[in-house]
């Protein structure tokens, strides 16, 4: 159990309890251009450094969380509930 992921509800947990979905991207509007949707669904950057990802705490609280992680050092800068993130973004 090497890498620990901080869950905003459960605290530090090993990565085995989680499922990773991938980059947390902003979803295009429903009527957006096909090109934007193609980007959103298929195209991914592979950044070296800071990265926002969706993680699902499958064997814990079963909440989706957004983890801000460094892909080089696995240093986790922040982790919050995906619902809270969506709400705070809707406000801005």
């Amino acid at each position: 159990m090497a890498s620990l992921v901080p869950c905003p509800h459960c605290g530090q947990r090993p990565k085995e309890e989680f499922t990773i979905k991938g980059a947390a991207l902003a979803r295009p509007a429903a009527d957006a251009d096909a090109v934007d949707w193609f980007d959103y669904v298929y195209l991914r950057d592979n950044p070296r450094g800071a990265y926002e990802e969706y993680w699902h705490h499958t064997s814990g609280c079963r909440r989706w969380i957004v983890v801000t992680r460094d892909t080089v050092t696995h240093e986790v800068a922040a982790s919050r509930d995906a619902a809270d993130r969506a709400r705070s973004e809707a406000r801005t």
């Binding site: 159990m1 509800h9 459960c10 090993p14 085995e16 309890e17 064997s59 609280c61 079963r62 909440r63």
Partner: protein, 177 residues
């Protein structure tokens, strides 16, 4: 019509008891487990559940944000269950999990040592006091762990995994028995 008839028996009825001075593993009676799911945005659900559970001496265990288990040793009559579900609405919804999940008790001086072999949750009394609950993996099985006493834990696990988890716990306890 098929000749096959399912036999109703407790999930862990055939398991051999694990008991010693330092550690005891025992299946708890298959009474009542109600999974409560609150509607998004509901506040103060804990005190609301407490007021519902208190007169009947049911225990309320937190599961995850907006979710709880209501636990009782005795099976709840159908009528009582229906009125509990009605009382929960519209703030929350109840789901009967009495036959879906099984409770296991592990107690004794070495209980936390044995459990720590399977889970990454910090079980030290300062970090995990009496009454605290956590959903975590024990080995490869997802389970709900509650400290019910200074040296006692209650584990709630899906019925289909109960025998497997029991065998794992028994093996983890071997050196203490």
């Amino acid at each position: 019509m098929s000749e096959f008839r399912p036999t109703l028996r407790p999930a862990l009825a055939t398991k051999q008891a694990v008991a010693s001075a330092a550690l005891k593993l025992s299946p708890l009676p298959e009474g009542t487990i109600v999974h409560v799911l609150a509607r998004p945005g509901e506040q103060d659900v804990v005190s609301f559940l407490g007021s519902l559970a208190k007169p009947a001496a049911h225990a309320v265990r937190p599961v995850s944000p907006g979710q709880w288990f209501i636990v009782h040793e005795e099976p709840m009559p159908h009528k009582e269950m229906k009125s509990l579900f009605a009382a929960l609405e519209p703030r929350a919804t109840g789901v009967d999990q009495s036959h879906g999940r099984v409770r296991i008790r592990i107690e004794g001086k070495m209980a936390s040592r044995a459990l720590s072999k399977g889970t990454a949750v910090d079980l030290d009394p300062s970090a995990f006091p009496v009454g605290q609950s956590a959903v975590t993996l024990i080995g490869h099985i997802a389970a709900h762990v509650t400290r019910v006493g200074p040296e006692a834990f209650e584990i709630i696990v899906l019925r289909g995994f109960a025998e497997s988890l029991w065998d794992d716990l028994a093996r983890m306890s071997l050196e203490f028995t």
